[in-house]
């Protein structure tokens, strides 16, 4: 298979397997790009993670553009990005289509599963939150940062423009830490 096809296939798998929200998906992406095939070295992967942190967007999308470009230029970047987004969307679209056709007894079952989904997904999101918080726990200065960010987030101005909260916390970090 040519390079573009391989890129599309691998990133379709990454899109479909990156599950659980945010940083929780990093180990899986690491496995696909570093362990399963040597598209990135350990150092390269660390670079992608910090790049993803510095740039907007979900990590999986950032990684797709970066790796796709590195391996096959602009067409590679397009192929990888499109399939990391497109493959899961295709699944979502077909699932929604099937769900919308459910009626009668099946409608009730679908509704019940959807309600059961809520607490389960919340638990999963809490675990994703934990992944973010755990590394901060070792340094008391970061506790102060978190407390400060929390207080600021209650202020109307930052509440309206949460992006500025990120920026302010970053600047405070650069000056204090």
């Amino acid at each position: 298979m040519n390079v573009l096809g391989t890129l599309a296939l691998v990133f379709a798998r990454i899109g479909l397997g990156a599950f659980g929200g945010g940083l929780a998906t990093i180990p899986f992406i690491h496995y696909e790009l570093v362990v399963s095939r040597a598209w990135l070295s350990e150092r390269g992967f660390a670079e992608v993670v910090s790049l993803a942190q510095m740039t907007p967007g979900p990590l999986a999308v950032n990684a797709a553009t970066f790796v796709g470009y590195r391996i096959a230029g602009l067409p590679g970047a397009c192929a990888a990005t499109l399939s990391v987004i497109g493959a899961p969307l295709l699944l979502l679209v077909s699932a929604l289509f099937l769900l919308s056709r459910a009626s009668g007894k099946w409608r009730k079952r679908v509704d019940r599963v959807q309600r059961a989904l809520r607490p389960a997904v919340s638990g999963m999101l809490f675990a994703a939150f934990w992944v973010v918080v755990r590394p901060l726990a070792n340094d008391w200065r970061l506790w102060v940062m978190v407390a400060g960010a929390f207080l600021l987030s209650r202020v109307g101005f930052f509440n309206r423009f949460p992006q500025l909260l990120l920026l302010a916390a970053g600047v405070a970090g650069a000056m204090l830490l």
């Binding site: 999308v61 553009t65 607490p119």
Partner: protein, 177 residues
């Protein structure tokens, strides 16, 4: 809602957010609320679906919200608005950013920003958990079970979510135990 305002809503989120998909989810929620076109429970249900399906959460959310607001064309606008800024940033800026990646001040900046990221994600999780666990102790039990499975036992997220749904269904509906 007009297609261009949907596009720019998601472009704003796509372009001015770092910190990954879950931070974006929080910002999308805020933006959707301020349009006053959706009930908060409806937004929460979309967030649950977006997280429960594989793929970058922010892209799934853009699809669901865009579709709800303006049909398939709205969904397309939402997706392009979300994914285009990250794509472009990585293509154009990755060389420059990687040169800076080892600067200590940049490290401190992102450490500080991580404090705000924790707060923003924490609020998303808190808001969603409050709505999700409205059904009482059964919901809370499922929430805790899924979170513990993921954090303490490193179960695969798919399995943990499936187990959570099954567990919740097994516990039965309120009032018909």
């Amino acid at each position: 809602m007009s297609l261009s305002s949907i596009f720019f809503l998601f472009l704003r989120v796509g372009a001015f957010t770092f910190g990954g998909g879950l931070v974006m989810l929080g910002f999308i929620e805020k933006e959707l609320r301020s349009t006053k076109r959706l009930e908060s429970e409806e937004i929460a249900d979309m967030m649950v679906l977006a997280t429960a399906f594989p793929g970058p959460v922010a892209v799934n959310m853009a699809f669901l919200a865009g579709k709800r607001l303006a049909g398939p064309a709205g969904a397309a606008c939402g997706i392009v608005g979300t994914a285009f800024p990250p794509f472009l940033t990585i293509l154009l800026l990755s060389k420059v950013l990687l040169q800076w990646a080892h600067e200590p001040w940049l490290g401190a900046f992102f450490l500080g920003a991580a404090g705000a990221v924790a707060v923003i994600i924490g609020r998303v999780v808190y808001g969603m958990t409050r709505i999700s666990c409205a059904g009482g102790w059964k919901d809370i039990l499922v929430f805790v079970a899924v979170a513990v499975l993921l954090i303490a036992t490193e179960t695969h997220p798919f399995l943990a979510l499936g187990a959570g749904i099954a567990f919740r269904l097994l516990l039965g509906e309120e009032g018909q135990v």
